[in-house]
Amino acid sequence: QAQQQQAQQQAQQAQQQQQQAVAAVQQSTSQQAAPGASGQTPQLFHSQTLTTAPLPGTTPLYPSPMTPMTPITPATPASESSGIVPQLQNIVSTVNLGCKLDLKTIALRARNAEYNPKRFAAVIMRIREPRTTALIFSSGKMVCTGAKSEEQSRLAARKYARVVQKLGFPAKFLDFKIQNMVGSCDVKFPIRLEGLVLTHQQFSSYEPELFPGLIYRMIKPRIVLLIFVSGKVVLTGAKVRAEIYEAFENIYPILKGFRKTT
């Protein structure tokens, strides 16, 4: 029985460590359970009621819950998050096909290719699904644009590589990388751009003589936002999807501050 108690204590200690680590991650005010020598019931993160009474003679550190720890919800509480998710509109990616290409041959043998060397030194190829456009250079490097998600961009790039393979070139699929992601969303209220450029002048550039939107260069994450009077926001310059979401969550409270409430 002593062994059982020991094992239980060890399990409780492990759980305590896990809970402390999770508490550090959560960053929100949560009740930290303090070991109570008086036998006080500690507060659990997911406020599950105690199902096991502390054994007599042992110091109850963390009573073991019936079910394992549930995953903790994200740090920002629901009341603060905007509830709006930016939609991805365009992904630009590059890949190295790993072999020199003869663009004239590609333009001759592919139906979906366009090649005008006097205008641009690359073949412009298009596929229907996913609806994308690729620029294929004679060095073997390729740029793929127009996809709506990272996975679609990768699939499209693979399809272009396959087309080039079928045209007789030893194409590979090296160093696929997402270079840029563009997202957009609508906050659904008008924004006083003149006010925003006054309070955030070190980040904003608003020149109505040149462009109707305000250009906001966010530092963390490094994203450029185009903010329009209608409340529509375009976010660009991201390498990963999370940067777009984070940038929007950063700008939303700032924009809310410019809503006129009479």
Binding site: K104, R154, L155, P208, V229
Partner: protein, 421 residues
């Protein structure tokens, strides 16, 4: 100085280094005999160390002001004088030009860009002193394209890390209105069209403020709004004689260019004024339209703050409330609120003022051009198998290739252009 040598003539050891102009010589200080002479000419190997360096790699480029920069600085001063700017502006603009020139990207830029840079420096100086100068004016003076100007302007602001304040609307109104040639009678301007400058200025300012409050200015080029406001102010000061004059004719009379968007700004401003007029009982009975409302602009402007508050309901709060209602009751937001507004008033049908309109920018009031359906949730993983048949649809058949080659050859024969490499 003794150097271990002896004079061949007198045998003295007193030999002195004494250069004859640039030729080094060793001379006996006793008898004056020249013992050795330095070489006047240099050999080819010596000259190898003195070979010429290109200007851009020498330090001369940094030490003196290049001709191109001198030209640019002269252009900056000329532009300041043409615009009749105070002398302090000239020095600031010149300083900005010099600062910009230190950056290699600017030093190596095309002449067209350097020319436009002159305008950018002057514009930044004016903006920082709240001197209302539009980019259009500068581009016209420099015969430059607004696209080229905008690129250089954005680049230089970022490069120099400058904080450029926004264009001051009130100052721009004063400057722009003063340029209208309507304050004195002339052969082209009959007496009935002549107007007092102060009256016109103050009314135009009020109309521009009204436009700003009702979301007609944000995001738009400032000048067309001011043109429309000036026109309305001028018309309203003597409506009986001036109502028949159109906006285009007005600008021609005043010897001012008519910017394209001014007519639509005019219509938007008149719509706002009409909504305000509907809130005044004695104007509501007159059933005004866009022409007749001009006669009452004076009254409307006098009470503009109250009228705007009554005529428009806060669009931003409405959008939120409307959406919740839509979810809860299935009613349209406008419908629900209009009923609430009308039921709260005691006046009988026909006599109550119109229910308030939404105060939103015009772009939010127009129906969307096309309804974008939300994109279907994609289940693509990126690693799916790619079927051969899907790829083969993108490959030409041999017959197609032959046809394509024939067509290309025929086209080249017709135009006489050689095959591209």
């Amino acid at each position: 100085m003794p150097g271990g040598g002896r004079c061949p003539d007198c045998g003295s050891t007193e030999l002195v280094e004494d250069s004859h102009y640039s030729q080094s010589q060793l001379v006996c200080s006793d008898c004056g005999c020249v013992v050795t002479e330095g070489v006047l000419t240099t050999t080819f190997s010596d000259e190898g160390n003195l070979r010429e360096v290109t200007y851009s790699r020498s330090t001369g480029e940094n030490e003196q002001v290049s001709r191109s920069q001198q030209r640019g600085l002269r252009r900056v001063r000329d532009l300041c004088r043409v615009l009749q700017l105070p002398s302090t502006f000239e020095d600031t603009a010149v300083a900005y030009y010099q600062q910009a020139y230190r950056h290699p990207g600017i030093r190596a830029a095309r002449l067209q860009k350097k020319e436009v840079l002159v305008g950018c420096c002057v514009l930044i100086t004016c903006r920082q002193h709240n001197w209302p100068l539009t980019m259009g004016t500068i581009c016209a003076l420099l015969y430059a394209d607004l696209d080229v100007f905008s690129g250089t302007y954005m680049q230089i602001v970022k490069l120099l890390g400058l904080d450029v304040p926004s264009l001051c609307l009130a100052d721009l109104v004063k400057t722009y209105c003063s340029s209208f040639k309507l304050f004195q009678a002339s052969p082209s301007v009959p007496a009935k069209y002549v107007e007092d400058k102060e009256k016109m200025l103050s009314r135009t300012l009020q109309l521009v403020e009204l436009a700003d409050e009702t979301w007609l200015v944000t995001g738009r080029h400032p000048l067309p709004v001011i043109t429309a406001a000036t026109f309305l102010a001028w018309q309203s000061l003597r409506p009986s004689e001036r109502l028949r004059c159109s906006l285009a004719r007005f600008c021609k009379l005043a010897d001012v260019d008519l910017p394209c968007p001014a007519s639509s700004r005019l219509q938007e401003l008149l719509t706002v004024l009409l909504r305000m007029a509907e809130q005044l009982a004695w104007l509501q009975v007159l059933r005004l339209d866009k022409r007749s409302v001009v006669k009452h602009i004076g009254d409307l402007l006098q009470h503009r703050h109250t009228l705007v508050r009554k005529a428009f309901r806060d669009g931003t709060a409405e959008l939120e409330g409307g959406e919740k209602e839509l979810q809860g009751q299935g009613l349209g937001p406008g419908q629900g609120k209009a009923e609430a507004a009308s039921s709260s008033l005691d006046l009988p049908e026909g006599k109550r003022p119109a229910s308030p309109a939404l105060l939103l920018p015009p772009c939010m009031l127009k129906p969307p051009k096309r309804i974008c359906p939300p994109p279907p949730i994609s289940t693509v993983t990126g690693d799916e198998d790619i079927s051969d048949s899907e790829i083969e649809q993108y490959l030409r058949t041999p017959q197609e290739m032959r046809d394509f080659q024939k067509a290309q050859a025929a086209r080249q024969a017709a135009t006489g252009v050689p095959n591209p490499p």
